[in-house]
């Protein structure tokens, strides 16, 4: 099997499964911080997803998307955390 085939039929479905697990945690909660870490994990997985897809499609430009996602997910988590702490 070629590299592209292994990624498209091996890595991407597995990453989707992992995202699904994180999504179940996002829906179930139970507390707000639980949902925030689930969102953070989904963003981290999206970075991995984009990176793997960049290799499969031979498009290095997609790496920039992964970088932007990394920056945004960090900022999002920090913002969530500081608002949670200020709320009480």
């Amino acid at each position: 099997m070629s590299l592209t085939g292994l990624i498209l039929y091996g890595a991407l479905p597995l990453l989707t499964l992992a995202m699904l697990f994180a999504f179940i945690r996002l829906v179930r909660g139970p507390s707000l911080p639980d949902r925030v870490i689930a969102l953070d994990l989904i963003a981290t997985m999206a970075i991995g997803f984009t990176a793997v897809y960049a290799i499969a499609r031979n498009q290095p430009a997609l790496l920039d998307v992964a970088i932007v996602l990394a920056l945004l997910s960090f900022l999002g988590t920090v913002a969530f955390a500081s608002y949670l702490e200020k709320r009480i």
């Binding site: 699904l20 994990l41 970075i47 991995g48 990176a51 988590t77 955390a81």
Partner: protein
Amino acid sequence: MILRDIVTIVLIFIGTSFMVIAGIGVLRMPDLYIRMSATTKVATMGVGSILLAIAVYFQELGITSRALATVAFLLLTAPVAAHMIARAAYFTGVPLCNLSIADELKGHYDLRTHKLESICFPELELHLPDMQVTKLRIPTRSVVSGKTLAEIDLRRQFNVTLLAVCRGSHVISNPDGDVELFSDDEVILIGFPEDMERAVELFQTTVND
């Protein structure tokens, strides 16, 4: 398949497995604080491995340096974000799972100022390992504020001894019975853990009128 492709596949496989483990971890672990180890450590390892695969696969200076910079950024930011969210969760009262055996932060956070305070009496704990030393701030409108130590009678009622009263920067150590307590004073207590719990409860009871 050339060597570059094999290394790329192995790195992607490692990264993807870690991602799946992180997903299972965040779903199955019993409380937030343990789930966090799955989302930060395991997921960072997974995404780092995948980004290394990019660096190996494309073999261009610009792409490799960007991939490595992203890995470094993730390694720096993941612990910061995790610490912030765990701290916020601890303040909002997210419970530990019932299998936890110790909460070492309990009583050390000042819930008003959000500062971590600890009183260390290492020698005291060495000599008296079964005793507990606690520092607590008397809340506004506590039932004990305005009363003297003789009126509260901690020693006889709770079997707890008051070592000192801190009022602002002023410390009244080894106070006698005439010393009056006010809200916002900080008291240092020593006693057996089970007695201490009841005494702390008294201090935190507020007048409801």
